[in-house]
């Protein structure tokens, strides 16, 4: 059934709720987890252009927060006795999540309804909205 579950995180508190639900579900149905964090290339570009940040520096910082976020997924999975791999990649988050889901042949994507930007006036976050448009597998959206 759902043997391989992609759990996407942006490190936010809301993502953590989704990660926990993804790991719990994997445990309950005996699935494996693929934890994914995408370093948002738009965030990098705008930090460089508008804030004058050093590109390498900002990339390294985001890469480090990504590593931390996926390490948390790995820890949660280990504690639940669920087998987990993790990945940190750079690109446009929604596109990357959809691509990874396809190339890694996952059966289900689990994400939070909102991420870090937490624009709460949006009914649903822009990343998950795009993933819903383009994903070729089922998507579980956690509130």
């Amino acid at each position: 059934m759902y043997d391989r579950i992609l759990v996407a995180t942006d490190g936010s508190a809301k993502s953590k709720v989704a990660v926990q639900q993804g790991v719990d579900l994997a445990k309950a149905i005996g699935a494996k987890v693929l934890g994914v964090y995408i370093v948002n290339e738009v965030v990098v570009a705008s930090a460089v252009r508008q804030l004058g940040a050093d590109k390498k520096d900002i990339e390294a910082k985001l890469q480090a927060s990504g590593e931390k976020a996926v390490a948390e997924i790995k820890k949660m999975a280990d504690e639940a006795g669920v087998s987990a791999e993790t990945m940190v990649k750079s690109g446009a988050p929604a596109n990357m999540i959809v691509d990874i889901a396809r190339t890694e042949e996952v059966d289900l994507i689990v994400m939070g309804s909102h991420g870090e930007s937490g624009v709460t006036k949006l009914l649903i976050g822009s990343v998950v909205q795009k993933v819903l448009y383009w994903a070729t597998c089922p998507v579980l959206v956690v509130r």
């Binding site: 059934m1 383009w134 089922p138």
Partner: protein
């Protein structure tokens, strides 16, 4: 995990995929299932406006739509029961997304399954209006099936 799963279906192919996915999840999680078909109030009023007086009565049309809804939920119920899942079939009338959300709240469902498109339309990549509204307003986890 999920104790009660609400599967919304309109009997379309994608809805059937949602039914299958939901039943499998329910079986491995030991969840109860509510299968819901909403008779779209727009479909009722359009059918009445178009067909009453042309050999159909309003009662005929309402009965036909009700029969079709019953067939959809009974088929899904059988699918669940064949795999040992307890299924509660429900039929409501109104706006599909609103009724799905309302039923999820009343039934205390902690997971809603919907198809990415229903009978309404296939625009292969994007997402149907019912699924979109459910995602926008749901207070619980929603799984969108393709």
């Amino acid at each position: 995990m999920y104790r009660k799963i609400l599967i919304a279906t309109d009997g379309s192919e994608v809805s059937k995929a949602a039914e299958r996915g939901g039943m499998k999840l329910a079986k491995s999680l030991g969840s109860e299932v509510v299968v819901l078909n909403v008779i779209n109030e727009m479909a009722i009023s359009k059918a009445i406006a178009a067909l009453v007086g042309r050999g159909f009565t309003e009662e005929d049309l309402r009965r036909t739509l009700k029969d079709s809804a019953e067939e959809i939920v009974m088929e899904a119920t059988k699918m669940g029961e064949d795999s040992g899942v307890r299924v509660d079939p429900l039929i409501r009338e109104g706006d599909p997304a609103l009724r799905i959300l309302e039923t999820a709240a009343i039934e205390g469902a902690d997971l809603i399954l919907v198809g990415c498109h229903g009978e309404g339309g296939i625009t292969s990549n994007l997402i149907g209006s019912v699924a979109q509204k459910v995602l926008n307003w749901s207070e619980t986890t929603v799984m969108v099936v393709r």
